[in-house]
């Protein structure tokens, strides 16, 4: 009987004084970014690396999208790979991005800026108690993107853009293919 009482006390204290902490596991798939892959225009089945690409979103952090979190200073915002993940705005149905190729190059003639604008609709999807909701995006079926040159005009480096998939639900699926 004493044992039962002891057990009850322990259970009582355990249940009355500890509150589980709910922290969203960073590995949980939540709001996805948009996966963009770069291809060679002269050989469209081949992936091609960009050189020192910097992407700046209108209304976002002025320094640009962080591609390389371990980089220092400017290197953080530059990428020279064949794919990038771009965040979309969870508060608006449009994002305007500047794609700056050869950013920071000493020869200003090589620095080339193109504007790419994406239109989409948003949907809130429940994830869990700890993670709350996530936003998934659906690119506008009729007018998903607008490609334009920068002002003042420099020649466009992006030759062609294809929408591979309209609904952005995960970061593993290629959404946009850019040929240059």
């Amino acid at each position: 009987m004493k044992k039962i009482i002891a057990l009850l006390i322990i259970l009582g204290f355990a249940s009355s004084s500890c509150e589980p902490d709910d922290i969203c596991d960073p590995n949980t798939p939540t709001t996805p970014r948009m996966l963009i892959q770069f291809f060679d225009i002269s050989n469209p089945s081949l992936r091609k690396n960009v050189t020192n690409l910097k992407v700046i979103g209108e209304g976002g952090q002025a320094e640009g999208v962080v591609f390389n979190p371990s980089g220092v200073d400017e290197a953080k915002y530059l990428t020279s790979t064949d794919s990038i993940l771009l965040p979309l705005n969870t508060d608006a149905d449009i994002v305007k991005y500047k794609f700056i190729l050869n950013s920071g190059n000493k020869n200003p003639l090589l620095v080339n800026t193109d504007n790419l604008e994406f239109k989409y609709t948003r949907e809130s999807i429940y994830v869990s108690r700890a993670c709350g909701f996530k936003t998934i995006f659906n690119l506008d079926p009729t007018n998903p993107f607008t490609l334009s040159d920068a002002t003042p005009a420099d020649e466009m480096w992006i030759q062609y853009v294809i929408v591979a998939k309209n609904n952005i639900t995960s970061e593993n699926e290629t959404i946009i293919k850019i040929f240059f």
Partner: protein
């Protein structure tokens, strides 16, 4: 503040255990009284025929045949009522009933209603509904003499019907390049939700005076059925309490009860056999 109140309930546990102790002490005194009674009756003048035998019979007779009272212990969950007062996000009430079936077994029932606003870091919901629990309690406590305390181990099955309203939520965005979006008001209501669960309970119910009982019980629960709202989840189920990733849950009752005696049953002592000759 909340923490403090939680600890206060822990203290209540301890206090309720003190009741147990106190009860045990008083019973020892009553037993001495009983002894006195016995000795008194022994002093009654022996009758002619067989004084020796008569004395023995008288002695057994005066140990009053123990009667167990059978009836219904009806209680209210004080914890829920108290929380309704101090917690502005909570409104609830529950009544419990233990009907004594046999010496050791009780039929258990609980009915309650709760309205809870749960504020998680990323979402706030309000759950409103009522529940019913039925099951059995086994009294593991050996009562001395006229004690009527209970240390119960029980199994129950619970049902709940409720509605859940999503008040507001935040979007979890690990890459807030454009900044984190603000709180989104929803107000969406999910009606007609149901859930059922099995639970095991351990508790103490102590008769403090007359027919008044004070008790507490702890329950461990496992969800059996649960209807999921589309694109959401039942975060709180009345009677079951907060839901976790697994199907397990826990609960706690602090009750004040009243025993309604219905009938009495004599506990026939084992030594009555030689009485008949």
């Amino acid at each position: 503040m909340k923490q403090l109140l939680k600890y206060s309930f822990s203290i209540c546990f301890l206090l309720s255990l003190l009741f147990v102790q106190a009860q045990e002490k008083t019973t020892t005194t009553t037993s001495t009284e009983q002894d006195l009674k016995i000795t008194e009756t022994k002093n009654t003048p022996p009758t002619k025929k067989n004084p020796e035998k008569k004395l023995g019979a008288a002695a057994t007779d005066t140990i009053k045949p123990k009667t167990d009272r059978y009836g219904l212990i009806v209680g209210a969950d004080i914890n829920k009522i108290a929380r309704s007062i101090y917690d502005s996000n909570y409104n609830g009430i529950a009544f419990t009933a233990d009907y004594r079936l046999t010496k050791k077994y009780y039929l258990y029932g609980e009915i309650g209603s709760e309205e809870v606003t749960v504020e998680d870091p990323l979402l706030s919901t309000t759950t409103k509904g009522s529940y019913l629990k039925v099951g059995f309690d086994y009294n593991a406590y050996n009562n001395w003499l006229d004690m009527e305390n209970l240390i119960t181990l029980g199994v129950r099955y619970g049902f709940s019907t409720f509605s859940e309203q999503l008040n507001n939520y935040l979007i979890y965005n690990p890459h807030p390049y454009f900044g984190q979006s603000g709180l989104i008001d929803s107000g969406k209501k999910y009606d007609g939700l149901t859930a059922s669960w099995a639970e095991v309970a351990a508790g103490v119910n102590v008769k403090v005076f007359n027919n008044i009982y004070v008790g507490f019980s702890l329950q461990l629960k496992v969800l059996v059925t649960k209807s999921e709202p589309t694109n959401f989840e039942s975060l709180y189920i009345p009677g079951f309490n907060r839901t976790y990733d697994g199907n397990f849950g826990a609960g706690f009752n602090y009750t004040v009860s009243y025993f309604i005696p219905i009938y009495k049953k004599k506990v026939i002592p084992v030594k009555t056999a030689p009485k008949k000759k």
